[in-house]
């Protein structure tokens, strides 16, 4: 058993804490952007940055030895395969539904019934 733990200056925690607030604010602000590739990229970029900051600093991953880092970070690659293939599959299934079942391509959602009176 090692006796030294994960002890690091408080300053870095405060810094990351602040960064997480900033990143969250930016991703929140992306809601005011128009839909499109740019907005999607902003959402994904800041999602990954936030996740990386939490894992690296709060969960101490950046101070761990590579043996542990690889053991934790490599298995989720299998999920990337699952995600990619399921995206292809879902696209195909959607196309089948539109092509063979005559379902509409991109219908508009109905507005939320927010302003309805309470029952």
């Amino acid at each position: 058993m090692a006796t030294e733990g994960q002890q690091h200056p408080i300053k870095i925690y405060l810094l990351v804490w602040g960064l997480l607030f900033a990143f969250s604010a930016i991703s929140y602000a992306s809601d005011y952007l128009d839909d499109g590739v740019f907005r999607t990229s902003v959402i994904l970029l800041f999602m990954i940055l936030k996740a990386a900051a939490i894992v690296a600093v709060f969960m101490h991953m950046q101070w761990e030895r590579y043996a542990l880092i690889f053991a934790i970070l490599l298995p989720p690659l299998a999920l990337m395969v699952l995600m990619t293939l399921m995206a292809i599959e879902a696209d195909y299934a959607w196309a089948t539904r539109v092509e063979y079942m005559g379902e509409p391509i991109a219908p508009e959602p109905k507005p939320p019934p927010t302003h309805k009176p309470h029952h």
């Binding site: 090692a2 709060f58 969960m59 939320p112």
Partner: protein
Amino acid sequence: MTETTAPGNESIFTATARDWSSDVTTFKGVPWGKAMMWIFLVSDTFIFTCFLVSYMTVRMTVTDPWPNPSEVFALAIPNELFGLQFFESSIPVPLLLIAIMTFVLISSSGTMAMAVNMGYQRNKKGVVLLMVATALLGMTFVGMQIFEWSKLIIDEEVAAWQNPMGAAQFGSFFFMVTGFHGLHVSAGVAYLLIVAWRVGRGHYDHTNFEIVEITGLYWHFVDLVWVFIFALFYLW
């Protein structure tokens, strides 16, 4: 073979191979509980990712319209409070509640990180206070989630099996994934309080307080999952 410190000029591959080919422990200096928690978190990652991949698949497959979350989760700032009028009319702000929930959960992660730091400084009082603060923030989060659910169910008539705005799966996935995450937060609150109580009782005085770090790993993971839910459910 059992050297725990590697020469500085080693490549990361050599360093990894050295640890993996050593005896006794593979993760040098990592307590059992921490190793176990990390492996559990990998397993839990697979659970949440399978949920999210299912969400992606179904959302891409349905031909019914998918509601715009930024409208669905908008919260109106009231124009009056205690009879005082502030604005001419109430102002709908998209995702206001979700933004506050996000900041609450990030704050709790911050206090948890501080608690871990206090633990390694052997500052028991600090640990207990910060862990209780974390638990309180976690409870706030769950409370706000209950509010959000009730708003969605009562005001917008969305249920797990129906959605007046379009695809029923919107409600199904929303309630299932946030519900599963909420259960994780609730379990985390219980875990935090138990550990804080035991730390206060002096249960871990003979250790290095790595239990605080292990609890912290779980708590940060819950926050981490929320990062993905926030981006993929509410913003997308």
